[in-house]
C-alpha cells in the first residue's frame, strides 16, 4: 500500500492508483473534462489532454494531471490551492476561446460538461481572442456532428474504436486543425458508423447530438386528418424519470402513458407488445433451426443471432457481410409494431395507411435510421414515421407544461398495449434471450416452466455464456453487449468454432437501458445498474410473464397472422439484410 496526503487527509491506496482515484477515495472530487469512466464495464478514457484535473504535488515543479499521474509514497497533494485554481481557470478559458458561445440554442445546453465547469469556475470573460475553428455540420439520419463544439477529449474516439470496434471516428489533422472525424472527413453516413449513439452518450459538449424529430411529431399531432399512435420501448420507462429529477431506477410507466395521452396521441401503445411478437417469431425460428440441426440437416445455420438491435444489424452488415444468413430474420420490435399498426390495427379502426402516423419512443439513436430504411416502407410510406429518444420525449413533455411528477398512473390502450414480463426485459442485456427461453422451453418441451427467471442469463459482464436445460437438451447460449464484445463472438462464428446454439447481441453497454438516446449518465455506471433492476422489477409485477401467453398476441395470430412463421407473418414481420461494402469513393479534388 502507498501512503499519501491529499488536502491534508492521509490515505492508503494500492500502487498504480491515479491521484484522481486516490482523491475520490479520500472524499475529494477533482473536476475532470476529458477523463471518462464506466468502471463496472472496464471502460476508461484518459488521454490526459485537457489539463482541467491538474493538482499540485509538493516538490514537483509542474502541476500534475491527476487522471494519469500515479501515486507515490509520501506524496503531498493540494487539489485546490490558488496555483491550481488559476491554472484550471486559464485552461478553461483557453478551451472556451475556441468554442462557440451559442449555449442558448445548443442541443446540449443543461447537460454540457464544459458549460457546467464554466458555471462552477465562475467564468465571466474570455480574454483570449483570435481564430476559431469552423467546420461544416454533418447530419446523418441519426446523429449530428457539429465539431466546432469539439474539445478533443476523444471520448467518442475511445467509444467508437476501443469499446465498439466500429472504427468510424479518429482524431485527424494536427494542432489547431485537429478534430475527430471519419476517414477523409467524409460524412458519418458514408462511414462504417452503426448509429449506436455511444459517441453521443459520452460527448461532454454539443459536438455530437441526435437528430431531433419532435417538431414533425407536433405537426402530425396538430393535423386533424391524422390518427397518431405511439409505442414506447421497454428501457424508456426505466430512465425517463431521471429527466424529471427522480432517482435513477424509478419506474415511470404509468406517468409516461398519461403524459403521452396529454400530449395528444390518439392511442398509447407499447413496444413491449411487439417484443412479445418478436419472441413468437424469433423463438419459432430458433426452434425450427434447432430441430433441423438435431435432425442433422447440413443446411441449417447455428447459432441463431438476435436481430432486434438496429445498431447491431448495421454493425454486421458492415463488418460481417459474409454472415448475413446467421441472424434471425425477425424484424425488430419497433418495426414489427409499425407493420402491425399500419395493417391489422389500421383496418380495425378504419383508418387508411396514409392517415395513420406511427411514432416510437426509443432509448436508441439507431432506431431513427432503422425506421427510415427502404425495406420498412410501403409505397414510400414508412411503417414507423418518426422515432424520438427518451431525452427528446422528456423535453417534449416539459414544453407542453405537463406536471410529469404529479400525473396519475395511466394504462396502455388495447390491443397493441398489452404485454408480458418477457417483453419488458428486452431492455436489459440478456433479456431478449431470456424471453425467448421462456417461450421456446414451453413450446419445445410441452411442459410448464416452473421458474421463469433465468438468473444465469443476467448480469453486466460484457460476454456471458450459459447452458439452459431444455428438458434434457442442453441449449448453449451466448450473450454480448457492446459491439467490441459482439465482434469476438462473431469472429468465433466466422471461424466455425462457435459453441453456441443462440446468441443475443445488444450494441450498447448494458443493453437498451444504456442506449445512445437515454438520459446522460455522465459515466455513473450505478445508474445503469439501477435501470436494469427497475426493468426486472417491472417484469416481476406482471401477471403474464411469457410472450405466448399474452392474450393480445394470441388474438393477433388467431384473427390475422395465423401461425408464427406463417406466410403472412413472414411478409409482415421478417426482413432481410444487405451487405454494406466499405467502398472508398472519394473525389480527391473535392
Amino acid at each position: 500500500m502507498i501512503r499519501l496526503t491529499i488536502d491534508k487527509k492521509t490515505i492508503e491506496v494500492e500502487p498504480g492508483t491515479t491521484i484522481l482515484k486516490a482523491a475520490r477515495k479520500a472524499g475529494v472530487e477533482i473536476p475532470t473534462l476529458c477523463h471518462f469512466e464506466l468502471c463496472d464495464m472496464g471502460i476508461e478514457n484518459k488521454p490526459g489532454g485537457c489539463r482541467i484535473c491538474v493538482v499540485e504535488v509538493e516538490g514537483r515543479r509542474n502541476l500534475a494531471p491527476s487522471c494519469i499521474t500515479e501515486v507515490q509514497e509520501g506524496m503531498v497533494i493540494n487539489t485546490h490551492n490558488i496555483r491550481v485554481l488559476n491554472a484550471r481557470t486559464t485552461v478553461l478559458k483557453l478551451i472556451i476561446s475556441d468554442h462557440p458561445f451559442d449555449c442558448l440554442v445548443c442541443a446540449k445546453s443543461g447537460d454540457c460538461e464544459l458549460q457546467e465547469l464554466a458555471r462552477q469556475f465562475g467564468i465571466r470573460t474570455v480574454p483570449y481572442g483570435g481564430e476559431q475553428s469552423h467546420y461544416r455540420k454533418d447530419t446523418s439520419p441519426s446523429i449530428i456532428r457539429d465539431v466546432d463544439k469539439c474539445i478533443m477529449c476523444r471520448r467518442c474516439e475511445m467509444m467508437c474504436n476501443e469499446v465498439q470496434t466500429v472504427g468510424a471516428l479518429s482524431a485527424v489533422n494536427r494542432g489547431f486543425m485537429s478534430v475527430v472525424a471519419p476517414a477523409f472527413e467524409m460524412n458519418l453516413e458514408d462511414s462504417p458508423c452503426t448509429y449506436c449513439g455511444q459517441c453521443v452518450s459520452v460527448c461532454p459538449t454539443g459536438a455530437l447530438t441526435e437528430v431531433d424529430h419532435t417538431n414533425e411529431i407536433i405537426r402530425a399531432l396538430s393535423d386533424p386528418k391524422k390518427t397518431v399512435v405511439v409505442q414506447t420501448a421497454p428501457a424508456v420507462r426505466a430512465a425517463l424519470g431521471e429527466e424529471f429529477g427522480l432517482e435513477p431506477g424509478t419506474l415511470v410507466t404509468g406517468r409516461m402513458v398519461s403524459a403521452l395521452r396529454e400530449l395528444g396521441f390518439d392511442h398509447v401503445f407499447d413496444t413491449d407488445f411487439s417484443a412479445d411478437l418478436t419472441i413468437m417469431e424469433e423463438g419459432t425460428e430458433l426452434l425450427q433451426r434447432l430441430r433441423g440441426h438435431l435432425a442433422g440437416d447440413p443446411n441449417v445455420r447455428l447459432p441463431i443471432l438476435t436481430s432486434c438491435c438496429p445498431g447491431w444489424v448495421n454493425f454486421f452488415e458492415h463488418n460481417f457481410p459474409d454472415l448475413l444468413d446467421v441472424p434471425s430474420t425477425a424484424k425488430s420490435p419497433q418495426q414489427m409494431f409499425g407493420a402491425i399498426a399500419k395493417s391489422w390495427f389500421a383496418d380495425r379502426i378504419g383508418v387508411e395507411r396514409k392517415d395513420l402516423v406511427v411514432v416510437s419512443i426509443m432509448p436508441c439513436l439507431a432506431k431513427k435510421y432503422e425506421c427510415q430504411r427502404d425495406e420498412f416502407s410501403v409505397d414510400g410510406n414508412p411503417d414507423v414515421d418518426f422515432s424520438i429518444s427518451t431525452r427528446e420525449l422528456a423535453a417534449f413533455i416539459k414544453q407542453a407544461n405537463i406536471d410529469f411528477l404529479n400525473l396519475p398512473e395511466g394504462d396502455f390502450d388495447d390491443p397493441l398495449g398489452e404485454s408480458s414480463g418477457a417483453g419488458v426485459i428486452f431492455g436489459n442485456t440478456g433479456g431478449v434471450i431470456e424471453a425467448a427461453c421462456r417461450t421456446a422451453y414451453e413450446l419445445h418441451t410441452g411442459k410448464r416452466l416452473e421458474k421463469v427467471e433465468f438468473e444465469a442469463l443476467r448480469g453486466m459482464e460484457g460476454i456471458r455464456s450459459a447452458t439452459v436445460d431444455f428438458d434434457g437438451l442442453p441449449l448453449r447460449i451466448g450473450i454480448a453487449h457492446g459491439l467490441g464484445n459482439a465482434r469476438k463472438l462473431l469472429d468465433e462464428v466466422r471461424e466455425g468454432r462457435s459453441q453456441y446454439h443462440a446468441i443475443e447481441i445488444m450494441a450498447c453497454p448494458g443493453g437498451c437501458i444504456g442506449g445512445g438516446g437515454q438520459p446522460f449518465h455522465h459515466g455513473n455506471s450505478e445508474i445503469l445498474a439501477r435501470r436494469a433492476a427497475a426493468i426486472y422489477s417491472e417484469d416481476e409485477r406482471k401477471t403474464i410473464r411469457k410472450s405466448h401467453e399474452n392474450p393480445s398476441i394470441i388474438r393477433l395470430y388467431r384473427e390475422f397472422l395465423g401461425e408464427p412463421g406463417s406466410h403472412k407473418a413472414h411478409s409482415l414481420l421478417h426482413t432481410e439484410y444487405f451487405p454494406k461494402n466499405n467502398e472508398v469513393t472519394i473525389n480527391m479534388q473535392s
Binding site: V166, G167, S170, N582, I586, M588
Partner: protein
Amino acid sequence: MEHLNGSDGVEVVVNLPKEKVEQINAICNSFDNDPQELINVLHETQHLFGYLPAEVQDVIAHNLHVPVAHVYGVVTFYSYFTMIPRGEHPISVCTGTACYVRGAEKVLEEFKKELHIKVGETTPDGRFSINCLRCVGACGLAPVVLVGEKVYGRVSPDGVKAILAEYNK
C-alpha cells in the same frame, strides 16, 4: 477497380489498378501486415507513389486490419505524409531556426509568387510543388532549399528565378 478479399471475409472495392494494389500488398507483407508498422508502411508507400490518396490508404487499412479512419488520422498528423501528388520537382524550403533567421521566409514568398501556389500545393501542370521542412542539417549554408534531392545553399529571393529556370529548360 479491384476487389480485395481479406482473411476477415469483408470485401472492399477500391478504385485502383490491380498492379498498384499488388505493390501496396507487397509493402504491407514486408512488414508482416503488422498494425504497429503503419508509419513505416506509409513511408514506403509514399516513396513508391509520391503521395497517399484515399484509395491507397484503404488498401493499407484493409491489409493491416485497422480502421481507415485511423490510417487517415496518422496521414494527416505527420506533415511528411501528403494526399496531394507532389510536383515533378518538389521544392522544399527549410524554415528551421538558422534558415529562418537568414531569410527563408522571404525565399519562400518568392517561390510562392513565382509559381502562384501556396505551401502544400502543386502547380496545375504538375511540374512544381512547394513544401516547408525543418532543418536538413546544413545550417552553415542557410537558408537552404531542396529541389528534388539537389541542395541549394545561401539562397536569396533574387536567386529563386535562376533556380526555377534550371528546371524550365
